[in-house]
Subunit: 377 residues, 2 copies
Amino acid sequence: MSPTVGVIGGGQLARMMVPPAVALGIELRVFAETHGASAALAATTVGDYRDAPAVLAFAEEVDVVTFDHEHVPQAVLAALVDRGVAVRPGPHALAFAQDKLAMRKRLTELAVPVPEWAAVASITDLEAFISEHGGSAVLKTPRGGYDGKGVRVVRDATEAVDWFERADSTGGGPILAEELVPFRRELSQVLARRASGETVLWPVVESIQRDGVCVETIAPAPDSAARLAGVAADIALTIAERLDVTGVLAVELFHTTDDRLLVNELAMRPHNSGHWTIDGSTTSQFEQHLRAILDLPLGATGCRDPWSVMVNVLGGPASGRLSDRYPTAFADQPTVKFHSYDKESRPGRKVGHVTAGGDDLEETVFRARAAAAFLED
Amino acid sequence: MSPTVGVIGGGQLARMMVPPAVALGIELRVFAETHGASAALAATTVGDYRDAPAVLAFAEEVDVVTFDHEHVPQAVLAALVDRGVAVRPGPHALAFAQDKLAMRKRLTELAVPVPEWAAVASITDLEAFISEHGGSAVLKTPRGGYDGKGVRVVRDATEAVDWFERADSTGGGPILAEELVPFRRELSQVLARRASGETVLWPVVESIQRDGVCVETIAPAPDSAARLAGVAADIALTIAERLDVTGVLAVELFHTTDDRLLVNELAMRPHNSGHWTIDGSTTSQFEQHLRAILDLPLGATGCRDPWSVMVNVLGGPASGRLSDRYPTAFADQPTVKFHSYDKESRPGRKVGHVTAGGDDLEETVFRARAAAAFLED
């Protein structure tokens, strides 16, 4: 009866697709890794996303397949496409979210501004890169990194001996080396693109990171004057169109000390820097992702408040459950929207987020941080 | 792990509790009547809510039991309470939402303004009532009516012969007769009350009915000057406190031609006249109901827009499914929020609703009506 969307991956991104799916009467089926996954309430399959037959069986009963993460191997994606399954975003686009070296190469071809970079295959290569780039380099494993994992800043090539050894032993190929960009802050431009091409953007946001993990976003980014917002939008639109992305695309950007924007990372799915849209925009990134992959007209992306501040809940209470903190948190912050991912507490783990909206930035930041603090130790 | 709420009834009200339950990490379990119920995605039991053992078994695994409708018999409610189950709202309050005669009697005792009424047990009683009330009466079956069902306007007592015959044969007792109130419009005051007593109100709304069915609400009610809003709030607060209601309470009101407010109906659950809060208020009535029955501090009830207009989708497309209309509806109304109840089309049936928000009432009404029209034949 209803349009049916299959999501591979059972994390909080799949979980947060449930509310808009319920609102729109879309059936959501999740392929989760474990029984206790964040999106367990919508899980119809529990299995390994690298297991092509399992993924194919799951896909048989859905109209379109999409993703909670970018780790599904290209071989599995190809098997889906061969079987005639609508895979959105498509494997040809996802390849650039899966492999940072491929992404850097392609964006450079498209003249999209990125940090200076090189594929380094040896200590010698890396030494040369470091000496050409002011005595440092940011090393990234091309695949599988997230939230600061798979990223390392080095001042001396020998610090990376273990990575090269691992790459050699696993046939992993070269590593991505990037200049250590002197940036004043990080921004994120989130957009959505329909299968048939229509594209809408939310305002560019500022994303505050700690140890490589997003802790807070401010929407719109303060002091994102017309020019800055325009440049961010242009970059993201170019990427969406030239890489043929379907669904939500998040483009993480460095705002450099000399006022340039450089692309840091890409994600072709709803993204932490877009969580504010659930409460702060007319259309959330999760609803928009569903619309986009079903090739439905996209919703309005206006802001519901002059400022929306999202703060991640990292770790959660050391003992007990997140909801044990609701009595104090709700009483203190009646205007803040609380989001639990129904995950066990663990130091540094994203277990939820909160969003505050308001007219005054400082006051809004205060409310959001206060609310999040009640949910952490 | 999570707080667990059991909802008896699998209609759209239970369905619309799912999104806030997901956001807050509350586990929602639904006792549905049928497998294809609107809230099927959260159904853990399919059964008959009059079957005490089935309801007791369902209730064993939840922290609190609440309702999608008011039809659960008092005997079943009593069995739950006897077993130590937290039933919210409690049977003592629900009794007044279940039986219109009991409600009229109690509100009269509380000096809450209601239409003139009488319990009529015979044609003779009714004849007397009609002649004392300007030649007409509104007859209501005390139990089981909704959306205009179980309500009949009569000008002559003989028109009600069949109802008295049925009442006699089923031992149904007297029928409620009310004056035909000369009203200019209908209003609805929705509030939420925690188990421990905290109460919050949304602004009073205007509710536009057709054939006894709500077709549209405007929030806040136009021209609800401070006095009118204050009277509506006082009436609803009195009812909530004196009837000891827990959860959401909707008080439907007649705004009479001589500018009084009289209580029409009560509902002790989220109500159609509160659907606008999903998109139009900081806290939706569905989230608030969950907070209230779990005795958590209530959320802010401010308006997100100067005007919120909700239009019901009645009937749905004669052929095909509601979502077949999304391409045109979404393209035409990108700012409107669409809600499907995942129900089969049927003339007059509530199969969804839409909500528009805006600064200008006429324009907002236009957008909401246009959006709904795309989803109907």
